[in-house]
């Protein structure tokens, strides 16, 4: 690590010596950095620093880490927090185990040569992804509703009617059901990314493999999969970040209290209730900021694992 840093520094020093000021680097970076800093970073840190304060008699008083002590020490907060975190982990596991394998499978099928109608499939399967949470949450609520009866009807067709239960209303199923709805919505993203990666594998590589008699499944596992690993890495980290920031689907389908009995509460909904309040509960920006800070740290940890452990080990292929 240290030597690498040194090397970079040396190299930087070297280049600096050669070309004193490289204005173009600044020009390339400036617009993004400015807009991003002004409308994202400053407001966000303005909020996060609230976690170190508390509202006492209508003025913000610095209290150090006391809000965090409350969050982890006071059972009124900590029970809900751990519950939300547990649910969130389960939400993430389902995405990794269901969404990404399905996405890879679909992409692999789509990219098989000489397959017809691929454009149609590709377009159709990506459709749910372009729909808003408002629509997705609402449509699935209707479908799974025992009153409207679409789901029981459909299950009757295949003789599974007895397996129907009001999933969204049952503590043991609601979260899994919603995770699967979320998978349904977002499976297009891994599919597209993997598809693009598969397409960009040079023909020569495939041809060489075929000459060696490596075809079909073996070809996928031995040749293509290693080549798309970087994309799978990106997808995993995007899924991680997306899942731990998720909020909208649960909110539109189950409401801010994430019922039944908080069984679908994830960090996003927990944060929303704390920060903005809900119904008679008055919002508490300070505790909300504390939760947001923890979420931020969790995600940061995940991204660091990816950046420093996974990504550096993946070989990058230049075509």
């Amino acid at each position: 690590m240290a030597t690498k840093l040194m090397a970079t520094k040396l190299m930087a020093a070297e280049t600096r010596a050669k070309r004193p000021i490289r204005w173009h680097v600044g020009v390339f970076l400036a617009p993004a950095v400015l807009v991003y800093t002004a409308f994202m970073i400053l407001p966000l840190f303005g909020t996060l620093q609230l976690s170190l304060f508390r509202n006492i008699e209508q003025s913000q008083v610095f209290v150090g880490f006391s809000n965090f002590r409350t969050l982890f020490g006071d059972p009124n907060w900590s029970v809900n927090f751990w519950n939300a975190l547990r649910n969130n982990v389960w939400f993430f596991i389902i995405h990794m185990m269901v969404q990404n394998p399905i996405g890879i499978l679909l992409a692999a099928l789509l990219s098989s040569p000489r397959l017809r109608f691929t454009a149609f499939y590709r377009t159709a399967i990506f459709v749910p992804t372009v729909l808003s949470f408002v629509i997705v949450g609402f449509a699935w609520k209707l479908i799974l509703s025992p009153i409207w009866g679409v789901a029981p009807h459909l299950m009757d067709f295949v003789g599974l009617k007895s397996f129907f239960t009001p999933w969204l209303g049952k503590e043991q199923y609601a979260l899994t059901a919603l995770s699967l709805v979320s998978v349904w919505q977002f499976v297009g993203i891994p599919m597209m990314l993997i598809y693009a990666a598969l397409l960009s594998i040079p023909d020569e590589v495939i041809e060489a493999a075929e000459c060696d008699g490596v075809t079909g499944m073996a070809q996928f596992w031995k040749i293509k999969l290693p080549l798309i690993l970087p994309s799978i890495g990106i997808i995993s980290i995007l899924t991680f970040v997306g899942n731990f920031n998720a909020f909208d689907l649960i909110y539109t389908a189950q409401g801010a209290l994430a019922g039944p009995n908080y069984s679908t509460d994830i960090l996003g909904t927990f944060l929303y209730r704390a920060f903005f309040g809900f119904q008679l509960q008055v919002g508490d920006p300070n505790m909300g900021a504390a939760i947001a800070t923890i979420m931020f740290l969790i995600i940061l940890a995940g991204v660091c694992v990816y950046l420093f452990l996974v990504q550096t080990r993946l070989r990058r292929y230049q075509f």
Binding site: F28, M40, L115, V130, V150, V187, A196, I299, L300, F319
Partner: protein, 279 residues
């Protein structure tokens, strides 16, 4: 050859899987659109049958069109989405290029800094953002939304694009430099065309949350002139929770434009992916 004999069942299998999944993906959408053309009794009585002359009813649409100017909302959404998309792609690609191409002091730090935004929901900064917009008189303008969405889309765009830009061959760029091209020309003429497929991917990623966002239109631009289609639909849902005719019609109206846009855009996207892929 043996591949020819083996490929038929394999192709059939592939089609079977893809068709099944397509059905799963489209079913809810078809269900909503189909039922939006039915009478209340039809919706509840037989949700799975397409509208028949007996159950066909446009009452939902009449209600929706009587309520708000959905066409205008749609225009607003389009302006916001396209403008934000443009800035995200342009600024994002430029920054990603700087990060992946040049070694400068603080490169890694800058990369991390720009990735921070992926990790916290921007919703948390709402109050500060709103204060900023109020102070500058941008409340209830589409400009406010565009600025926020550009900021929101940048981190992910830079994150993905710099990943792809690292894959662009150095030889090509160096050849350009030897030919005396400026860094700007190298970026716009040589690199950008090569990363087109990833640009298309980023475009889709950026577009969806912007189009579908409910929060910032609600906070920053809730006025009648600046309402977006998602906000319009949500308000409508709140207003007619029990009127399923109207709700299904509103949902269909919110779905269809995106679908059409997506189908048009998807061709570009695929063309981008296939033609851009360097072979």
């Amino acid at each position: 050859m043996s591949t020819a004999t083996r490929s038929l069942p394999r192709a059939l299998g592939a089609h079977a899987i893809l068709l099944t999944y397509t059905a799963i993906a489209l079913f809810p959408v078809i269900l909503v659109v189909m039922n939006s053309f039915k009478s209340r009794a039809g919706i509840f009585g037989a949700p799975l049958t397409p509208p028949t002359p007996k159950t066909f009813d446009l009452i939902g649409y009449t209600t929706v069109f009587g309520q708000g100017d959905f066409f205008h909302y749609f225009q607003n959404s389009l302006v916001v989405t396209v403008a934000s998309l443009f800035f995200v792609l342009l600024f994002g690609a430029m920054a990603a290029f700087a990060l992946s191409e040049y070694r400068f002091r603080g490169n890694t730090m800058m990369g991390l800094y720009l990735a921070l935004g992926i990790m916290i929901p921007i919703r948390l900064g709402t109050v500060a953002i709103l204060q900023l917009m109020v102070a500058t008189g941008l409340v209830n303008t589409l400009t406010a939304l565009i600025l926020v969405y550009t900021a929101q889309g940048l981190p992910l765009a830079i994150f993905i694009l710099s990943e792809f830009m690292k894959q662009v061959s150095d030889d090509l760029k160096n050849a350009g430099r030897i030919d005396g091209l400026s860094e700007y020309t190298i970026f716009f003429r040589l690199v950008l065309p090569l990363v087109r497929p990833s640009m298309a991917t980023v475009a889709v990623f950026t577009m969806i949350p912007i189009w579908n966002d409910l929060w910032f239109p609600l906070i920053l631009a809730p006025s009648e002139q600046t309402k977006t289609v998602t906000l319009g639909a949500q308000l409508f849902l709140g207003q007619f929770v029990t009127n399923w005719n109207a709700i299904l019609a509103a949902l269909s109206l919110a779905i269809l434009p995106v679908l059409i846009l997506y189908v048009i855009f998807s061709r570009q996207l695929i063309r981008g992916i296939t033609s851009g892929a360097v072979k």
